[in-house]
């Protein structure tokens, strides 16, 4: 301690080992316990969350005891069953989905055109970023009165507001994804002689896929919200209303259990699309490619 400056390392004898065969070490690998394996299953964990939430709902509704404002889970499920099998819920849902898919597809197509122009020219980039900055914060539902004026009371108005809600979210995400593609991957692509649309399709889109997928999800959620809200506002054009109309109608008749059933239908479709459609796409793309955990 006292004489640190003159300390020299102790010279020790050298040695070499012959390493022990791995087989002799014994337990190198051990299977996980049943509990560990069960808790590794994604859907099981999520199912547990759903059951807990459902139990909480049922408990509170029974405690409150007012089915006019807050029906129980059991009553809601009965109403959902009734409305699906004997009532108009299925038909209403299909109507909504048809409008939704039309608007979503159209929105994606226009977003694709916009972003392709945006990556190929500088003025295109400016155009897209200006338009996005202008219109992205504008709630689609605020355009509904105008849409009704332009397209009348009917599906074209709904499609118009859905396109508006999908377009900017998807375009913004896709363009951000394109900008984030690494310089090396861009140069590698150009090195192969790829240019123009082929370059966008074969290099930029796959390389930006995590962002694009995030955009698709956000766009889907926006489209749903906009559609249900729009249907609540102006109801129905002919006899074929959508889910929003179903909810509105039942509220007017104070069939609260049916209102809950309609909302549950919206939630179920959302869950299915998220956990089946988008998850499958994720598994086969970004996760397989190691771009996302």
């Amino acid at each position: 301690m006292a004489n640190l400056s003159s300390a020299t390392p102790l010279v020790r004898p050298e040695f070499e080992h012959i390493t022990v065969e791995a087989g002799q070490i014994g337990e190198v690998e051990r299977p996980l316990s049943l509990w560990e394996r069960l808790s590794n299953i994604d859907w099981l964990r999520k199912a547990v969350i759903l059951i807990v939430l459902g139990a909480a709902w049922e408990a509170y509704a029974r405690y409150a005891g007012n089915e006019l404002t807050f029906p129980t889970l059991v009553q809601t499920m009965q109403a959902l069953w009734e409305a699906t099998v004997h009532g108009p819920l299925l038909e209403r849902t299909l109507t909504s989905l048809r409008v939704l898919l039309t608007g979503y597809a159209l929105g994606l197509f226009i977003a694709g055109v916009f972003t392709t122009i945006a990556v190929s020219t500088r003025i295109g980039t400016d155009l897209l970023s200006t338009l996005t900055a202008m219109f992205n914060p504008l709630p689609a539902i605020a355009l509904l009165p105008l849409a009704l004026l332009w397209f009348g009371l009917g599906i074209p108005s709904l499609v118009f507001v859905i396109v508006h809600s999908v377009l900017w979210a998807v375009a913004l995400n896709t363009h951000t994804g394109f900008l984030a593609v690494s310089e090396t991957q861009r140069m590698a692509g150009m090195n192969y002689g790829l240019r123009g649309v082929r370059y966008v399709l074969k290099i930029l889109i796959p390389a930006a896929f995590p962002s694009i997928l995030a955009g698709l999800k956000i766009g889907w959620a926006f489209a749903w919200r906009t559609l249900i809200a729009a249907e609540l506002v102006f109801g129905v054009s002919s006899r074929s209303g959508g889910l929003g109309w179903f909810i509105f109608e039942n509220r007017n008749q104070l069939e609260t259990a049916n209102v809950f059933a309609g909302l549950t239908a919206v939630i179920i479709i959302g869950l299915v699309v998220e956990s089946v459609v988008f998850r499958t796409i994720e598994m086969h793309t970004v996760r397989k490619w190691g771009m996302q955990r």
Binding site: T184, A188, Y192, G193, R198, P206, A207, T285, W289, G290
Partner: protein
């Protein structure tokens, strides 16, 4: 170790070696930052012949990577000409395949095999079946047959660089451009990769233009070395290094050449320091 005698190999197999494959004449390269135009190289000239392992060596900021990007067609010269087989280089093309330093040069959405096949298919050089055969052959050459169906994120850095080399070589380009391909690897892997690259060169005698800032790597990998001065890059010397490989690393000649290049690069710095001191004294 592999003993390399490229001079013999050259004179025997390449009768056409008298006209250069790549000819760079008085090339000045500039790039723009937000506020400045920076001159990366100033009137650089050199010729690369068939089966050369031509190394561009210099400290960082000497414009060697810019030169390589110029040859690749990513950067147009403001002065001078760059010609490959007599044709002026004006855009990126698969006849000049590039291997980058970064590991993300592989396309993460394709397997090793698909990555190697991709440029052959997109450039229309081969039909699918032929592309597959060629890809498998070159994947085997870089010892990755076991990993041909793996995705890049499952591979180590060295393996990714091997895939990139296989991908470039399978195209059988006129010239292989390598931008510090081993710089991001650990020392042991780097050495192994250098040996493998030399072995590949022994097998196929391709032409390559190799950029590095390591004097040792330049001497081992290169057959001829262009030494560039720092910022903006100007030619300081062109030296022969074909007689050296890993085996000669301990030899005095190897040490002498290392020292000679070191002095060339280092002398500049001493001069600069002296100049700045003189400047400070005046000011």
């Amino acid at each position: 170790m592999t003993a390399i005698q490229p001079v013999d190999g050259l004179s025997k197999s390449d009768a056409v070696a008298h006209s250069p494959l790549l000819s760079v004449k008085d090339v000045t390269l500039q790039y723009k930052t937000r506020e400045h135009i920076v001159t990366a190289t100033y009137r650089v000239s050199f010729d690369v012949f068939q089966a050369d392992r031509f190394v561009l060596l210099g400290p960082s900021g000497c414009g060697k990577s810019s030169l390589l990007k110029g040859v690749a067609g990513f950067m147009a010269p403001v002065e001078g000409t760059m010609k490959l087989n007599g044709r002026t280089i004006d855009r990126p093309s698969p006849d000049r395949m590039m291997v980058f330093q970064e590991f993300d040069q592989l396309l993460p959405w394709k397997t090793v095999l698909q990555n190697v096949m991709f440029p052959m298919l997109t450039s229309g050089r081969c039909k699918r079946k032929e592309a597959r055969e060629r890809a498998l052959r070159f994947i085997d050459k870089v010892n990755l047959t076991k990993f041909r169906d793996a995705y890049p994120h499952m591979l180590s850095g060295g393996m990714k660089q091997r895939v990139a080399i296989a991908r470039a070589m399978a195209m059988e380009p006129d010239i292989l451009l390598m931008d510090e391909p081993f710089a991001a690897l650990d020392a042991l892997t780097r050495r192994k990769m250098q040996e493998e690259l030399l072995q590949l060169w022994e097998d196929t005698r391709f032409t390559m233009l190799f950029v590095t800032h390591s004097i040792e790597e330049a001497i081992i990998v290169g057959s001829r070395i262009l030494v560039l001065s720092p910022h903006p890059g100007r030619v300081k010397a062109e030296l022969n290094a074909h007689q050296f490989s890993h085996a000669e690393q301990g030899r005095p000649e190897f040490g002498a050449l290392t020292q000679r290049i070191h002095n060339m690069l280092f002398a500049e710095r001493i001069e600069e320091e002296a100049l700045s001191k003189a400047g400070a004294a005046h000011g």
